[in-house]
Amino acid sequence: MSNIPLLEARDVARNFGSVVSLSGVSLKLFSGEVHCLLGDNGAGKSTLIKILSGVHRPSRGELLVDGEPVSFASPRDALDRGIATVFQDLAMIPLMSVMRNFFLGREPIRRLGPVSLFDSKYAERVTRDEMEKMGIRIRDPHQAVGTLSGGERQCIAIARAVHFGARVLILDEPTSALGVTQTELVLKCIKEVRSRGLGVIFITHNVRHALAVGDRFTVLDRGRTLECRTRDDIGLDELQDLMSGGRLPATA
């Protein structure tokens, strides 16, 4: 693990008009690490990830990728630097097949004289392979995404981002609407991604989900960093207390 973070935010703030939604947050994400971002509603999680993914620009503070200061004009810029975000709507189309969704907007092309074809053989093979690497056996890459479970869909979205060259993966509450088995599946995907040396920012409400995969934990509260701890340094109860907006017990 190198000492230069893949992605770093230094004292990032953002206000919308006179409303301050982020008043100075710092965060470091290292390669091969899952960094959990926790906090109650309105704590500033969404604003922070929108800044990291290039949707918003910070009003103050700076972003660094591989130690270099960067400024993202759009989500495209962030993507070009290898920062991919899987939002809750997943950008997936239920009526379309897994393979068509996987390559949506980035279709592989096979040339046949003057005509370009959607290379479905290649798409089929890659989709199957990438899903298998995530530990999901797709019965049929032609089946509609709508027939898959919520967890499987999350994993497709994750596999897609990884396949297209993400080094940093930002996951926006990927487990929030899922049952126990489905959550397991997504957490397994996150571990798989980490083992390949990517950095993952995992946004969640759920302390148990965070502790199951997290290496580092940042708790936000009302637009500020409340605490930033490593795995060895924090327990379930403590994290739960922080989440509910409380302070650390006197021992800290």
């Binding site: 189309i93 239920p94 009526l95 907007g105 279709e107 370009s116 089946q143 509609a144 709508g146 898959l148």
Partner: protein, 333 residues
């Protein structure tokens, strides 16, 4: 069930099978001779060319209710260029397509810029174009609603063979009407584009979830605009074929074809909500349509039953499609 979701045209093929058995049992044997089959395919082809455009547009999540009127107005543009201005056939064809491209573009821009449902925008175009056709016909003919003399105006042109008459007449008795060849070609192109190209993937995505498609980098507005234009061009092609065939054009040309084209597309498995459908299905849907319209004349059944047939088939197709969609999206009912 999985197979069904992957093959939306299966319903139409099954329907064609049932309709064929029905007519095999009730209709005069002459319906199934070469000449009889061509009789069925002619109206199927005219409708089918429109259904390919309408079907692709439906898959992309939009309707064009103006295609019937577009046929009428394009027919007027085409006939008036030939008869009133005495222009040669290639120029008339060019002008007709140029008109269709601009009309399709106008529909598209209004729908896409305002975000209004295409259903209502193109319903307005339906009336505007139909009315303009009437006004234009009266202007071109000094008061009549029919413009004659197209064949005389065309005379001999090398392009005529491409758009009228029968092909391969030397090979077997009745030959194949050129419109049938156009129908097959347009359907094959549409089916190929939808199933096998990047544009096809974008079309499915635009209709399935425009927002998700946009977030994945699909130029949704461009895709829809191109399909509006393509649909209008299908209407122009039908106008040229039918005006040359009849030798005249009138105000009722293409009347209610917009509904028939949508019906054919729905029978072919296209969802009214977009995102799912098949051009191969629309192809067979159009043939079913032609079979019912023409087939009844070969039976003792009163021809006026045809609308009942059609409505019944549409109803069955919609119920069937709805079932397939629920299976495909995993929606429980």
């Amino acid at each position: 069930m999985l197979q069904l979701a992957r093959r939306p045209e299966l319903g139409a093929i099954g329907g064609l099978f049932v309709v064929t058995i029905f007519f095999a049992a009730t209709a005069d044997a002459s319906m199934f001779t070469a000449a009889g089959v061509m009789n069925v395919l002619s109206p199927a082809a005219q409708l089918g060319i429109l259904a390919v455009g309408a079907g692709l547009l439906m898959v992309a999540g939009e309707f064009d209710l103006s295609i019937g009127s577009m046929v009428a107005f394009a027919g007027l543009v085409f006939a008036a260029t030939l008869v009133v201005w005495g222009a040669p056939l290639p120029i008339a064809i060019l002008l007709t397509f140029a008109f269709a491209i601009s009309a399709g573009m106008l529909n598209a821009q209004i729908v896409l810029k305002t975000g209004l449902p295409s259903f209502i925008v193109t319903l307005a175009s339906l009336f505007i174009l139909r009315g303009l056709t009437l006004v234009g016909l009266k202007w071109a003919t000094e008061g009549s609603t029919q413009l004659r003399g197209v064949r005389e105006a065309v005379g001999d042109s090398w392009m005529l063979e491409l758009f009228s008459g029968d092909a391969f007449a030397g090979l077997f008795a009745p030959g194949i009407p050129v419109e049938v060849l156009w129908f097959v070609a347009v359907a094959a192109l549409g089916a190929f584009v939808l199933a096998r190209t990047r544009f096809g993937n974008w079309t499915l995505a635009a209709g399935g979830d425009a927002n998700a498609a946009r977030n994945s980098g699909v130029p949704v507005a461009d895709v829809k605009a191109i399909l509006f234009v393509a649909t209008a061009c299908c209407a122009a092609l039908v106008a040229i074929l039918t005006v040359l065939d009849a030798g005249s054009t009138d105000a009722r040309r293409g009347f209610q074809k917009e509904f028939e084209a949508i019906i054919a597309a729905v029978i072919g498995g296209c969802l009214l909500t977009g995102g799912f459908g098949s051009i191969v299905g629309a192809f067979f849907g159009s043939i079913i349509f032609g079979m019912v319209v023409i087939g009844l004349t070969y039976t003792d059944i009163d021809q006026d039953w045809y609308q009942v047939f059609l409505g019944g088939m549409l109803m069955m197709a919609v119920l069937f499609n709805n079932y397939v969609r629920k299976q495909a999206t995993g929606e429980r009912s």
